[in-house]
Symmetry: C2
Subunit: 313 residues, 2 copies
Amino acid sequence: VRTDLQRGDDGNLRVVLDWGTTSLRAFLVDASGAILDRVETADGIRTVAGRGFAGIVARVLAPWREDHGSLSILAAGMIGSRNGWVEVPYVDTPAGASDLAAAVRTKSLQGGGTITFFPGLIDRSARPFPDVMRGEETQLVGLGLDQDATVVLPGTHSKWARIEDGRITRFCTFATGEVFATMTDHSFLAHVAKRPAKLDWRAFARGLDVVRAQDGSAGLLSRIFTVRTGWLAGAIDPSEMVDYLSGIVVGCEFAEAAAQGWHDGGVVTIVGGDDIAQVYRTVAEKFGLSVSLGPENAALIGCLRIAAELPRD
Amino acid sequence: VRTDLQRGDDGNLRVVLDWGTTSLRAFLVDASGAILDRVETADGIRTVAGRGFAGIVARVLAPWREDHGSLSILAAGMIGSRNGWVEVPYVDTPAGASDLAAAVRTKSLQGGGTITFFPGLIDRSARPFPDVMRGEETQLVGLGLDQDATVVLPGTHSKWARIEDGRITRFCTFATGEVFATMTDHSFLAHVAKRPAKLDWRAFARGLDVVRAQDGSAGLLSRIFTVRTGWLAGAIDPSEMVDYLSGIVVGCEFAEAAAQGWHDGGVVTIVGGDDIAQVYRTVAEKFGLSVSLGPENAALIGCLRIAAELPRD
């Protein structure tokens, strides 16, 4: 692809960074938003020692800069957080792409070029404390805010968000992925469970059914213990424990979301990587919801849409 | 105390072992059940390599045996589990002291004396799998089964149990302590939280209030994330995070127990060590329950009561 490029096009090339806690994804895109090249590294903000973010950028972008000179960079995700490179204050809900664009922070880089950090979003109507997101708002903009929707963004900290009248109006976070991973790696399971090479859908569905069978009384604390009682009863094999637990935890997310009024038999849109989106689709359908899937590259699309709203300098 | 003993009393002395996953508590008791000596070690069944249980007993009891000869030993707790020394099958609910006594397994020790392992309890009415306890049934017998009661036994795997007509009729396990410890040590909290030297009651109460304010919709997955949003909002100090989380998790245990019909404004009896019992008492009272506290040495009393029902040989 890169061989098609004319030297004269370089001014329209940009780099988009999706820079989170555990990984860095970088995209080289042209003016139309087409991806010319991409790279992914494990340089998440948690692992970058001494905050050597500029060094990471220099290293990761070196091949592109060699071909195309200093490139302007857009950066979304936790890189703009308190523990990141430049803290960009949160924008209040309700907010759309132009509200996010109005709050960016831009920094000049040694050796030329600039890096523009996107803000996160804060929902001050959440109780007991304002809820926050950083990165998911870009995915929501990438999905598109033109249609009202209830959107689920699965992850370590899963988000449920409402899009109304062209803006993100409110959202709620569930620590689903974190509880799942932490319990898998460090609880009683860790001594017994065998990790399957790929998702065991049957085991997952059994965990999910435990939650669905009990609706309102479905509590995570007692359900988690059924991983152990199922094993002791010979009903759950060590190779099934992890996916059975996953079914319970994701099922509890949907049960909690229902109890909080996030869904009630309507349509939800799921935005995320292919694997996790399929898992959440299955759960949503089991809960009687109709599912629409967002684009997998929603973060990138969202970055470009927010960038299009940036004031020209 | 030991100087009061006459050599001729030795035949009436016994050792009671409360041998769990992470610790071993041994008591030397006389015929009346009075404690003559006690010792606690970190030789929990998880840490005893190569299942060298006999060696542990020989080492821990050596001083007592030197004074009193080979002693008969009663052993309760996880030592009688699949991962313990001798697996003693579970007794079905409903069960009382005599049902437990009828199911013990006795083993002769090299060098003389015997060790008697108590069974655990299984509630086959629990869904989706039979629930199990091993050790707590002894505490329940120690509390006394003569009065109907709803009993809470806080711990890594907290138990709620019903005593009816002189027997333990059913129970349910909540993985409260395990979720709390695992999240404290390995989640996003671990990077930020400062561990307080002692329980910060105010922080604990704030976590508890978050659960109580939301009753039926109180879900653990979204509440856990408020530890982070509270910190980001400057409302929760790093030194308050652990106890705030504790309030949330224990509060969720009571909310789940209520949803499952375990309590509804009546009386609960709490059986456990002094510190944790006080924490649970506070929570129970916040949930409008009247609290009765069981004896702190319920496990020991229970062992002796079960032993009193053993067939004479």
